[in-house]
Symmetry: C2
Subunit: 159 residues, 2 copies
DNA sequence: GGCACGTTACTCGGATAACAACTGTCCGAGTCAAACCGG
DNA sequence: CCGGTTTGACTCGGACAGTTGTTATCCGAGTAACGTGCC
């Protein structure tokens, strides 16, 4: 899986802790974890296309969460970055085997494909059950000082 | 995920249907689905290293299942081809963030990593529950002629 | 006829290129804020 | 002093290279069967 997923999730978390009315630039989000700013910007664009964050240009511009953290699941973020295709993509090799028919969709009928799809669905179900709000709450329970620290760190560039 | 996984699973199935005492060459297994033989051979080598199939050189050589089909899960095959690492590999970016400690293993403590690992485990659990014997039996229930057809097709090269 | 040996053809196994995807970077279009000027 | 306009800098957005991993291929080491010659 792409490394950008990790960046995107942590950035969404930080955006959830940011000042509600303010937008945060990609540069500051990148400076938080010392990431390459231009590349993180690329991932944030993907999140914007998926409707997870909204972007604003110009001075005082940047990114902010487009909807409630409780409505943003890890699956949403993974799908936005990686694309919706499943890990195992059936190439329908049975079509070239003996008895292969052209009018059969082996992605549905091949038992191997079915088993793989079942595993993929289990993975997606688990990711869909975890929202940014869940993680945010759990972190605040363990480290109560996190929200203020993040807000402070995002408010001004690295000294 | 690598495309070779699909080839490996189908080849294991075909090996399960093959004549018990006989070894099947990579060339014939590849001809079954019109796959590039040399590359399929590479995947079969990975299966051999993992102890899923055993290989024999020379005339009358080839591959055969090394253990009972009921002891070969889809997870075993995926692990053999792809390697055991999970899809989401935590890069521990929190280490470079504010309050990052060098002596903390963020792969265990980061909640994002934990959630991803949980999803990965659900995926693996589902794959581990499906064995080659399961799929073999299901196919035989739907297409009773499959075993004989496969055995016949594997016995001699493509005419 | 049976057995040992050399030959031969066949198979896996790893080393070697071609391709694609991910990673990283750069500069331009658009935009908002602030400064400036005139009334 | 206040409003409109211009300027300017700042930000996202997409287009452009570098690097790693996957896909595909080839040839050599090893081996078992076969044919041959000998006992």
């Amino acid at each position: 899986m792409s490394e950008g997923v990790e960046w995107a999730v942590h950035s969404c978390l930080n955006l959830a802790w940011a000042e509600p009315g303010e937008a945060v630039t990609a540069t500051r989000l990148a400076a938080f974890y010392e990431l390459p700013a231009a590349y993180l910007n690329r991932q944030l664009q993907a999140l914007a296309r998926a409707g997870i964050v909204s972007s604003t240009s110009g001075p005082r511009g940047g990114f902010r969460l487009a909807r409630d953290p409780a409505d943003i699941s890890l699956l949403d973020i993974v799908t936005a970055i990686e694309g919706g295709q499943e890990a195992f993509r059936c190439q329908e090799i049975m079509r070239h085997g003996p008895g292969g028919r052209d009018n059969v969709d082996y992605r549905k009928h091949c038992l191997v494909s079915q088993a793989m799809r079942r595993a993929d669905l289990a993975w997606r179900r688990e990711l869909a059950a975890q929202t940014i709000a869940d993680i945010k709450l759990a972190v605040e329970g363990t480290r109560p000082g996190t929200p203020k620290m993040v807000r402070n760190r995002l408010a001004k560039p690295v000294s």
